[in-house]
């Protein structure tokens, strides 16, 4: 262990940054795995450029992976970076504002030549011009050390240089006292068929680790003790994986096959990738020719008695709007996933945002409301996916599921759920005629369940229940085409009332923090961690504040009015230009104050805490 002092930290935030080709996502993922083995709580935020292979060394080609871990409850990927590992000048300047004053910056000093500075649009060398004075800078000759380590290997120069991230990984594992075994195991299985690459990587990982011990650059090494998580079996899970598993759980518990129609789009494609592997779990996937086809196929499947799901991001939802209206008027179960990203138009495809709430609420012709459920953490994507399916079938309605880029790509430790603990998911298809007309038993497709107002789901293939549905207005009861003025109004109201009745299935709202506070923060979606961590900080600083988080955004929970009545000041933080805040003002006529961040990045707890101080100060 050498003669280093070991300092114990409650939590730490590390950011790996470099070129897209530097393997930063991989380095971050392996560091995360080691951190999970060290039993810390954690949250991650990958951040990649929109270009697949952006020019080397440029600012817009920078790819990053941020990880926040601790022995305490970790709710966000961290807003202040303690350690930035920058592989080149571009990665340094792009991420500098995220490092806390006094934080550590580890750079590959071999990549600060004139040409590198030039590519990063820098006039002077930040290592020399004093711009890094408020940080602790550690210069490591990563390129040279890597070349030296591998001087006897058969790899060519390019392959050798590309492996320097393994040296960096080894060094950072040492710095935070993480185990190296998980990374070693991964390298062995990943490169089983390429022994020269496997050995080179293993060697570099080890050298990086030992370098920490032997070099004089580090006097202190850190450790973060295990977190006190609720007991049980855990795994690290990304939002996309959790969501895909939520759909598998829905297929499993309901017994109905799922058809997932999707068209490739960032960042939703990973759901398609995950589900396409689950063919033996009752999931069928179709990569459609476009967004409209993807939802059309899902609607077709639902008409056939399977559960149709379609997944996309904002621009894709814009294309699906008309078909969503069809699902609404035909009253078929359907789940539409929107993994939100920066908009409008193509916007910031690889960055996170919450700017499609209005689109989910109002983005269709005619009055066509549908329930909207929003995930709040990567692990929560599992439960929300399951719940969206359950409600879609129970109420015979399309349901919008909102996730976002941060949730989809971010990961956290996840207490593996017991399948038996999931809510009941029973499906009842219509089996016989449901009304008598002139002494004859016939089937009417729009006779409603008195409790849920759901219409019957009659599967093609069932004799005697032949019926036609479609986008023209339906006669109440029979479901025949009707242009009757009063029937139209009745049907619009009935469909809206049905959506409202989803309130019956919502768990009571929980207030986080001081119930007797003046100020209540109302949030939805992926901001939950930042809001609750911010509330905790403010309370630790002696302020009284509470927050409530909405899982169902439409309809708003029945008990929300009562919760709001206990407070006098309201703050609504959102990663958009003010969307939920308008819906709340419209519904409750209370003084909701908006707090908006539109930078393609999540809130940090300190931003929330500062705002609370401002409002209460």
């Amino acid at each position: 262990m050498g003669s280093k002092t070991v300092e114990t930290l409650p939590e730490a935030t590390v950011l790996f940054a470099g070129d897209s080709g530097d393997g930063m996502q991989l380095t971050g993922t392996q560091f995360t795995l080691a951190t999970a083995y060290a039993m810390n709580d954690l949250a991650t935020l990958p951040d990649f450029p929109a270009e697949i292979r952006a020019p080397v060394g440029t600012r817009y080609g920078v790819s990053g992976f941020q990880l926040h871990f601790g022995s305490v409850d970790i709710r966000t990927p961290g807003d202040d970076v303690d350690l930035l590992i920058a592989m080149n000048p571009a990665a340094l300047v792009v991420n500098l504002d995220r490092v806390r004053p006094g934080g550590t910056i580890l750079v590959n000093s071999n990549s600060f030549e004139a040409k590198d500075l030039n590519l990063a649009n820098l006039d002077s060398n930040p290592l020399e011009d004093g711009s890094l004075d408020k940080y602790r800078v550690i210069q490591v000759e990563l390129t040279r050390l890597t070349r030296e380590t591998l001087k006897d290997s058969d790899l060519n120069q390019k392959q050798i240089d590309r492996s320097k991230n393994m040296f960096a990984l080894g060094l950072s594992l040492w710095l935070y006292s993480r185990p190296v075994e998980p990374a070693e195991q991964w390298i062995r299985s990943k490169f089983a068929k390429k022994p020269e690459i496997r050995d080179a990587n293993l060697e570099l990982l080890k050298k990086g680790y030992h370098f920490g011990e032997t070099t004089e650059m580090f006097v202190t090494r850190y450790e973060v003790t295990p977190a006190t998580l609720p007991p049980g079996r855990y795994r690290a899970v990304q939002g996309v994986q959790a969501m895909a598993m939520g759909f598998v759980a829905a297929a499993d518990k309901s017994g109905i096959p799922i058809t997932y129609g999707s068209y490739p789009i960032t960042p939703a494609s990973d759901i398609l990738h995950a589900l396409s592997r689950y063919k033996n779990h009752g999931i069928m996937t179709i990569q459609a020719e476009d967004e409209i086809a993807a939802i059309g196929m899902a609607i077709g499947a639902s008409f056939g008695g399977c559960l149709g799901i379609t997944g996309t991001s904002g621009p894709g939802v814009a294309l699906k709007g008309e078909a969503m209206g069809l699902a609404h008027i035909t009253e078929l179960p359907l789940v539409i996933v929107n993994v939100q990203r920066g908009g409008p138009s193509t916007g910031l495809p690889t960055k996170t945002e919450q700017s499609d709430l209005m689109q989910a609420y109002y983005g269709r012709n005619g009055d066509a409301p549908m329930p909207i459920i929003a995930a709040s953490t990567p692990g929560d994507c599992f439960e929300v996916a399951y719940e969206a399916c359950r409600i879609a079938v129970k109420y015979m309605t399309p349901v919008v599921l909102l996730s976002d880029g941060y949730l989809a790509n971010g990961s956290e430790p996840w207490l593996i759920p017991d399948p038996d603990s999931l809510a009941d998911f029973e499906v009842q298809y219509a089996t016989e005629p449901n009304v008598e007309v002139d002494g004859e038993k016939v089937f009417h497709g729009y006779v409603r369940d008195p409790q849920t107002l759901a219409r019957p789901w009659a599967k093609p293939g069932t004799p005697g229940l032949e019926h036609r549905i479609g986008g023209l207005e339906k006669k109440d009861g029979t479901g025949n085409v009707s242009y009757d003025a009063h029937n139209h109004e009745l049907m619009i109201r009935l469909r809206a009332e049905k959506v409202k009745r989803v309130q019956q299935d919502m768990a009571p709202l929980e207030i986080f923090g001081d119930e007797d506070a003046e100020l209540l923060i109302v949030g939805w979606g992926s901001t939950r961690g930042a809001i609750e961590a911010g509330v905790t900080r403010a309370r630790n600083a002696g302020l009284k504040v509470a927050s409530v988080h909405l899982r169902w955004v439409c309809p708003l929970p029945a008990d929300l009015g009562k919760v709001l009545s206990g407070f006098s000041k309201f703050l609504v933080p959102e990663l958009n230009n003010g969307q939920l805040v308008r819906i709340l003002r419209d519904e409750f006529l209370l003084p909701f104050e908006a707090m908006n961040k539109i930078q393609g990045r999540p809130f940090g707890p300190s931003e929330i805490a500062r705002k609370i101080e401002d409002m209460l100060g």
Partner: protein
């Protein structure tokens, strides 16, 4: 529809067109069309119809079919809904033909699904007493693909028009063709937008004067058969509303075909594009202007007086009576040849050659739905039925507490 349905008073029965009420006569079988071809302005009637505007029976109560012994009849496939197409519209003949064909196919009614898009033709599912969905403009192929792929046990029919499938739904029509989903597509081609009251369509001839093109349309028209062949259709055929016998036979073949059976039906829109196909469909010119070809048969028309022979890559009309040419010189059609299909499909509104009707192309290849099912089966055989608990606990896990 010639006018927006919404404007129609509720409950009023539309005037019934002849074709709907008494469609039992075999088409063209010795019956003279009541109107001379090309009789410009006069309202047109489907062949076999004698008195205009006098429906003998309300729609939805067609004459009982050959059943009577419990076997399904034509009536079993007619829904109780009023048929609302304009009187005299070619759509009636297509509906009647399909309703007459259904009992003969032996598919239980509850297993039949009709999916349509938007347009006059797409009202079709409402009139069939089967499962059905009238969906959104151009998207029927997507819904049909979804239901057939997830429920391959169902017999799926798709109803569309030239605007619905070749304009707004152009992308989906080419993709359903390449996928080869096992279903039937009946494309009603009337070369006009009917439901929106008469704009030119993607199959309208250049120079078409319509409400949206007062100085004539400029767009080059699609040739639907050539288009679907270009999209790797496995079955492509053309028929016409005024020859229900031929239509029924073609639809039967499309149904019996394992794959996407694409059938283009020339359909007269007597309100906005009356007589568009009269030169092919009416007796005076039909034999000269249309050729009904069959697999394995020589290309002969004009009551055996003329034929088509292959001259290089081109078809050439030959006179079989002048002594220079005989039937043996005519091309014997092979519907499995993509080359011949391509050549024949390009005989399109040709000045000297007759318009072809029949099955242009038929290629046996695996269907999309069957391959998807097979892939699922293969995964289950290899990995077993998936366990949810195992999936949730997959990968690196650790225990706390």
């Amino acid at each position: 529809m010639s006018e927006n349905d919404a404007n129609k008073p509720q409950g009023r029965k539309p005037t019934l067109p002849p074709g709907a009420a008494k469609p039992t006569l075999p088409p063209g079988a010795g019956k003279k069309p009541t109107l001379p071809p090309g009789a410009g302005k006069a309202p047109t009637l489907p062949p076999g119809m004698k008195k205009p505007g006098g429906p003998a029976m309300p729609p939805g109560m067609p004459p009982a079919g050959p059943g009577g012994d419990g076997a399904p009849s034509r009536a079993d496939f007619a829904s109780d809904q009023d048929v609302r197409w304009c009187p005299g519209c070619g759509d009636y003949a297509i509906l009647a033909t399909v309703q007459r064909l259904m009992p003969e196919l032996g598919v239980p009614r509850e297993n039949v699904v009709f999916i349509s898009g938007i347009g006059c033709s797409s009202r079709f599912p409402y009139y069939m007493n089967t499962y059905g969905m009238h969906s959104i403009h151009g998207r029927a192929p997507t819904i049909a693909t979804g239901i057939k792929t997830s429920r391959p046990d169902l017999d799926v029919w798709m109803i569309t028009g030239d605007g619905d499938s070749l304009s707004i739904g152009g992308n989906h029509i080419i993709h359903i063709m390449r996928r080869n989903v096992d279903l039937q597509i009946i494309m009603f081609n009337n070369q006009i937008y009917g439901l929106t009251k008469g704009q030119y369509s993607p199959t309208s001839e250049v120079g078409k004067i319509t409400k949206s093109t007062p100085f004539g349309s400029i767009d080059h028209p699609f040739n639907p058969i050539a288009l679907v062949l270009g999209a790797d259709a496995s079955f492509a055929a053309r028929t016409m509303d005024r020859d229900p016998k031929h239509m029924k036979e073609i639809l039967r073949q499309a149904h019996d075909f394992n794959g996407t059976g694409f059938v283009e039906v020339y359909q007269n829109c007597n309100i906005f594009n009356d007589g568009a196909f009269f030169s092919f469909t009416e007796k005076a010119t039909k034999s000269d202007k249309a050729i009904f070809f069959e697999h394995g048969q020589p290309l002969v028309y004009a009551d055996g007086k003329k034929g088509l022979r292959l001259n290089g890559f081109h078809l050439e009309a030959i006179d079989l009576e002048g002594g220079n040419w005989g039937v043996d010189d005519c091309l014997v059609y092979d519907e499995t040849s993509l080359e011949l299909a391509t050549i024949l499909a390009r005989v399109y509104w040709h000045d000297e050659l007759p318009q072809p009707f029949g099955v242009f192309y038929r290629q046996a290849r695996p269907t999309y739905d069957e391959q998807v099912g097979r892939q699922v089966q293969a995964v289950i055989e290899r990995s077993g039925k998936g366990s949810l608990a195992d999936l949730l606990a997959e990968g690196d896990t650790w225990v706390v507490g």
